[in-house]
């Protein structure tokens, strides 16, 4: 399974609109400052000129903050360096502004009188407020787009998981179907009388596998019924129903689990658990459910056959099961396989609050 790289998605789906952001920011700043500089009166030409000039001058430290300090220091979590540089930029730009801005305006507009605006002490306060406010504005914009990207990533991840699960299920179904058809085929060759009953039982199993299991969760009762049907069906393959010891200890049979978790293990046990000559060989199943805990343990005799997890013939086998558990119960499950000289044991344990 490929891991999703969030950074690559964030880079690809860059929602930032610098033109829009700056248009909104500077338009708002212009309106607010114009209102302040005109003292709440109807703005005059001098007010428009002063406000425009003020914004042009303050745009320099603001842009340095936006496009150098924030990406290189604040986003890199170098907070102290950022604060030091931010303060330096703030003080130096306010200092330059307080001494040069008035002269510059008088030089460019000799017939305008920009008098009742900002005093030198007001400039430092105004610069501080403006730079801090624009920083917060920028961080809000960053958060807005980060949140949008996060949601997009979550959607993609979810879609990806669903696609993978569907693919895995699609691999299980033909595997089981082919096995079952082989059984029916053998029964037909032998012209066994109960072939019709076998077909009906198979259709019950298939209905569950194809339709009922195509949901996120099924009840333990349904999954157990599938296992019982499957065991019953196996008698047509020459396995006595007594070859399976199914022990259950279920507190709540409506406990929900991911569908088709157990069948692959049972299939595996049937496939590798019998040598054909020894009739005493048995599959032992222990299924327990208490509160949020679910445990399934299956044991069969070991026939010195390699239980290859990537069994090409049977599809994906236990590897599929392992992937399913990782996707559906991340950090909430245990999946253990133990093999001794004569026993092969698989245990699934799930903790799932419902």
């Amino acid at each position: 399974m490929q891991n999703l790289n969030i950074n690559s998605i964030l880079k690809k789906s860059n929602y930032h609109r610098p033109l829009l952001f700056n248009s909104v920011l500077w338009s708002l700043a212009f309106i607010i400052l114009l209102f302040i500089f005109s003292k709440g009166q109807i703005p005059i030409t001098a007010d428009y000129t002063y406000t425009l000039g003020f914004l042009l001058v303050i745009a320099v430290p603001v842009c340095i903050n936006f496009y150098v300090l924030i990406p290189r220091f604040l986003r890199q979590e170098r907070y102290i360096v950022y604060l030091l540089l931010f303060t330096t930029i703030l003080i130096s730009s306010a200092f330059i502004k307080s001494f040069l801005f008035g002269n510059l305006l008088d030089f460019i507009f000799p017939n305008y009188f920009f008098v009742s605006y900002l005093s030198k002490s007001d400039i430092f306060l105004t610069y501080s407020i403006f730079l801090i406010t624009t920083t917060l504005f920028k961080l809000t914009e960053d958060w807005f787009y980060f949140n949008k990207n996060q949601n997009q990533v979550l959607k993609i991840q979810n879609q990806h998981i669903q696609t993978q699960l569907s693919a895995l299920r699609a691999q299980i179904n033909p595997h089981f179907l082919f096995n079952s058809l082989n059984v029916i085929y053998a029964m037909a060759l032998e012209k066994k009388e109960n072939i019709t009953k076998a077909i009906v039982e198979l259709s019950d199993v298939l209905r569950y596998v194809i339709y009922d299991s195509d949901t996120e969760r099924v009840t333990l009762k349904e999954e157990l019924k599938l296992i019982q049907n499957y065991i019953a069906f196996q008698k047509y393959r020459g396995h006595s129903e007594n070859t399976v010891a199914l022990n259950t200890d279920i507190e709540n049979d409506n406990f929900k689990i991911y569908p088709m978790l157990l069948l692959p293990l049972l299939e595996n046990a049937y496939k590798y658990g019998f040598s054909g000559s020894d009739t005493s060989e048995k599959i032992e199943i222990q299924l327990t459910q208490k509160q949020s805990n679910f445990k399934f343990k299956i044991q069969n005799s070991s026939q010195d056959i390699d239980h290859n997890l990537d069994d090409n013939y049977s599809g994906v086998g236990l590897e599929n099961l392992k992937n399913n558990l990782n996707l559906v119960y991340p950090d909430k499950h245990k999946f253990n396989i133990a093999e001794t000289k004569d026993r092969f044991t698989v245990v699934i344990e799930i903790e799932d609050e419902q």
Binding site: P110, F113, V115
Partner: protein, 222 residues
């Protein structure tokens, strides 16, 4: 020192076109005492002026009252500290007398005086009216001419009003009263900055002839 405030109705010291301000036009470090103005003067509008040093007059006044050094009130000390670089200016026209405190100050190389009324002649009937009046500041550019005469060019409402109407000036002000008088409400620093720009700017009708007084020293030879 108790100020005797009496209001003389109908007394129009100057033409009504000078710019009035709530705050003085100077800032503390711009004050610049000029001894050349001390003396008696006659103006071109049949008025006479007597300019005295505030500091000297204050000391004289208090020494008359004897041991004044220890009797000065806080208000007197504050008054002295505020205006010690200034003048007492007595203006007489048509037997009406008014006293101003004038504070000389410099704007770049230009010499200005900030005027604020101090005492007026009036009668007791008009006391109530007097309580409605506010002593505002005005300012005049001082030009010393070659013949020892001086010109006092008052900052006129016409020039400032024109700038306001043209929307070229943002200076705190109010238009107030039945006569819609222009009153500047800006701080002294803003007023001083305005004067700096005003003096460096070049535009028509900067000074209104009605508000220009030419003062000739009384001891000048004809």
């Amino acid at each position: 020192m108790k100020s005797r405030i009496v209001v003389l109705l109908g007394l129009i010291l100057f033409s009504s076109c000078i710019v009035k301000s709530i705050q003085p036009f100077y800032i503390k470090n711009s004050e610049s005492f000029n001894e050349k103005l001390i003396g008696s003067w006659s103006d071109n509008k049949k008025g006479s002026w007597e300019v005295l040093s505030f500091e000297e007059e204050f000391k004289k006044e208090n020494s008359k009252e004897g041991n004044a050094k220890f009797k000065l009130s806080k208000e007197d000390i504050k008054l002295y500290e505020t205006y010690k670089n200034g003048y007492f200016i007595k203006y007489v026209k048509k037997e009406s007398e008014a006293m101003f405190i004038g504070v000389p100050f410099k704007v770049d190389n230009h010499f200005f005086i900030d005027f604020v009324p101090f005492e007026f002649d009036s009668d007791d009937i008009s006391k109530l009216v007097g309580q409605h009046l506010l002593k505002t500041h005005s300012t005049a550019l001082v030009e010393i001419n070659g013949n020892d005469s001086i010109n006092l060019k008052w900052l006129s409402e016409k020039a400032v009003g024109t700038l306001l109407e043209q929307k070229k000036l943002r200076l705190k002000h109010e238009i107030t009263g039945l006569d819609e008088d222009l009153v500047l409400t800006a701080s002294s620093q803003e007023l001083y900055n305005f004067l700096k720009k005003f003096m460096s700017s070049d535009f028509d009708d900067k000074w209104d002839n009605d508000d220009i007084y030419t003062l000739t020293p009384d001891n000048a030879k004809p």
